[in-house]
Amino acid sequence: MEGSAATPVNIVTGFLGSGKTSLLQRLLASPRLADSAVLVNEFGAVGLDHHLLRRIDGDVVLLQSGCLCCTIRGDLGAAIRDLHSRRERGEVPYFRRLVIETTGLADPVPILATIMAEPVVRHHFRLGNVVTTVDAVNGAGHLERQPESVKQAAVADRLLITKTDLAPAAAVAALRRRLERLNPAAPLIESDPARRVDPEFLLATDLFDAAGKSAEVRQWLAAELRRPGAPSHDGHHDVDRHDARIRAFCLRHEQPLDWTAFGIWLSMLLNRHGENVLRVKGLLNVRDSERPLVVHGVQHLVHPPIHLDRWPDADRTSRLVFIVRDLDRARLQRSLAAFNRIANPAAAIVR
């Protein structure tokens, strides 16, 4: 419950042409990733030649920055297990972080599921930040037409709007508003080739980072202030639009929650509706615990809860940020309260 020594795994995702490879090239050259391994689909696309230090074998190369770069052949789970055993045997330099680039058309959820649930992988690795690139020129169109693009944005912990130098400022602002509605819990960063990206903030500042976890939770909670339920300003209300069915909201529960009753509720909810719960992140005031508890999950999968050392602000209300497809906030709120009454029959009924 107190964090983990497991190797963090970052996922870099984004639709075709959204700037994933450019981002990776910049990250690969950074000395901050010196003790990292990167799994890419093919070396050619990343253009490693001028970074190359030596080729370890056909699938693994060592870069001048110290970063290890490998191609994924076939199954991702097998690629991670192979990299792990090579590290254990000392055949590749010891890496403390793994970064995985997805293909542009990929639904990122099965990749997240591999990290969180694959029996061997989940004992040595843990999910780190998911970074999603959305390009300012074509991103809005992808969100409208490509369901994978919506999922990529919805599961992100960091959203990077790329090619902002190539799009009109109004288009960038409209895309920003749209992404904020879709995933208000993820910080949005605008990026162009002239601007520096901070690898630390993109990849390393997360719930398991002792210095960063309180800040990370504050980021989610700021989502409430951005009023994701507020009406759209860009005039698009087409219900056929892929992101129109996806909404983000925050449930609040005033009284301390019973963890056991909460576990029954969330496990039952995700069993039945996991497909439609793209992301859930919560800060819980749990009975019998002085410290707040953090839970986070992706579709059917929930990461073991983590205790924060202290509350990030004066508010002691339990807060759960949901990013869902076709689920009703009021129904969820009422259901959560009803299940908590199993442990605390005196608690108020929420209508």
Partner: protein, 101 residues
């Protein structure tokens, strides 16, 4: 969820203790979990019991039973036995919990 959890030493998230000092012993917490689950399962005519502190047995009134490792497995087994979904958002279940819990 994965049946190897126990073998590989990983605790399912629903089995984690919430209190910093784990106020209730694991076994007592487990029995409490079973009791709470039954408050929900009675809605479907099903019942959960602890099985040797390591698994659970889900049974129906008609005598069907299934051993499950975690709560998640229990919901999946319940749906198989019932031939329909167990939905925590179902109004009749919510009203029952509001009325009787």
């Amino acid at each position: 969820m994965c049946g190897l959890c126990g073998m590989l030493g990983g605790e399912h998230w629903t089995e984690e203790a919430a209190g910093a000092g784990a106020s209730a012993p694991r076994r007592a917490e487990r029995l409490r979990r079973v009791g709470f689950a039954n408050t929900v399962l009675v809605h479907y005519g099903l019942r959960l019991d602890d099985w040797q502190g390591s698994s659970y047995v889900l049974s129906s009134r008609t005598g069907r039973s299934e051993i499950v490792a975690t709560l998640v497995d229990a919901w999946q087994a319940a749906e198989r036995m019932l031939g329909r979904g167990c939905d925590p958002l179902e109004p009749a279940l919510i009203e029952r919990l509001e009325r009787e819990a």
